[in-house]
């Protein structure tokens, strides 16, 4: 499944890059992230409770950032599995300055396997888009927050933010 798109965030490129690559920030903005730890060299171990509506699955795995060219681009490899299936993916993320804002261009290819792939097929692309909206909603809130401000993230809040900033 291909996941491509662009999203504009009203924050400076350096700030957006930090939110996207700093483990502490990432852990806050990723939908359902229960744990994210740096294991060195751009690699992270990750624990996610991902899902849409009543459908929930816990996944554990690794995220590897490579070809990091701060603050303009990096590549990302994801490999995670849980009881309901596995996900493998790789993609490229580019950040382009657009006045005071930043346009994020993402392009990736994701493979799903196991029960979640066999049964939920008609939902995959819509679910991926929903989680992308939630993610960008949260990134927007995180990136535009004042230093030290406590940003509240919830699925509905982040979805609404994602829709609004579209």
């Amino acid at each position: 499944m291909k996941i491509t798109g662009t999203h504009q965030i009203s924050a400076a490129r350096d700030r957006v890059f930090t939110v996207l690559t700093d483990p502490e920030c990432l852990a806050r903005v990723m939908p359902g992230c229960k744990g994210l730890e740096s294991t060195g060299d751009g690699a992270y171990s990750i624990h996610l409770a991902a899902g849409v509506g009543p459908i929930k699955g816990e996944y554990a795995g690794t995220v590897q950032l490579t070809d990091i060219e701060a603050p303009s681009s990096y590549r990302m490899l994801v490999d995670a599995k849980g009881k309901t299936g596995f996900v493998k993916g790789e993609g490229k993320v580019e950040l382009v300055e657009d006045g005071d804002a930043t346009t994020v261009i993402y392009e990736g290819d994701v493979t799903l396997g196991g029960p979640v792939a066999a049964v939920g097929q008609r939902m995959h692309s819509s679910a991926a888009k929903l989680m992308t909206r939630q993610l960008f909603g949260a990134i927007e809130a995180e990136a535009t927050a004042e230093e030290g401000e406590d940003v509240k993230h919830s699925i509905i809040r982040n979805t609404l933010r994602g829709l609004r900033s579209k």
Binding site: G53, P54, R122, L130
Partner: protein, 289 residues
Amino acid sequence: MIPGTFDYHAPKTLKKAVSLLNEHEDAKILAGGHSLIPLMKLRFAAPAVVIDIGRVSGISRIRISDGHIQIGALTTHHTIGSNARLRRVCPVLPETANEIGDLQVRNRGTLGGSVVHADPAADWPAAMMALRASFEVAGPSGTREVSASDFFVDMMTTTIGDGEILSQIRIPEPPAGSGSAYAKMHQSASGFAITGVAAQLTLDESGNVSAAGVGVTGVAPIAYTASAVEDALVGKAPDEGAIAAAAALAADGVQDANEDHHASGEYRMHLATVLASRALASAAERAKS
């Protein structure tokens, strides 16, 4: 295909159901069970507590009074589909009900369960948007009313909070001179809508459209009101030309249309225009008779 273990409660009143829901963490409401049970059997959902509202009284009736059609959330698709009065007063409701899944699903599945689940391909949300329905939601501190346009947030996501239960669906009774219809292209195996369009037209004395409601499901992550279609029809006679011109706007403004191995986003958007014109033509026909 065997669900995980869970505690089971079967309260008899809505109040008790709400309090149980708020007492337990990770509890899910079970109505007809035709979405939740398959998810639990696949272990895609594994709630610790299931609260079966099947025995709750007062939420499975259809009442038409004081200018409103009120349908209890627990009313089955079959009950709505076979209601003779609804067929006369608001034909899009039984028509939508009879298009859902198969007989087993219609006998067990409920209107409330379907809208709360908010599947992007569900049939009911189209009619709810077209008819300007509102939802009564019961929570620990009383009830609140939400309009259909505020209710659906994103795919499988509604404004209903963790401690709330949908209790009633209210629809303004269509005035004299109204007609409504549902047109759908279904996925043959599941019966889910690839695209579905619900429409209601009200005609004035001279036969022009005085009010129009059009709801589209299956195309976007949530059902939407096709306001461009509605605006294009109001004030006009609903003839073939006017309907065709209006229906062509049924997917206006849709970005990121749903796509899967059954149908591309582009095809779904095309279907919206075709089905809108069919639903509007039937609605106009019914409004005239």
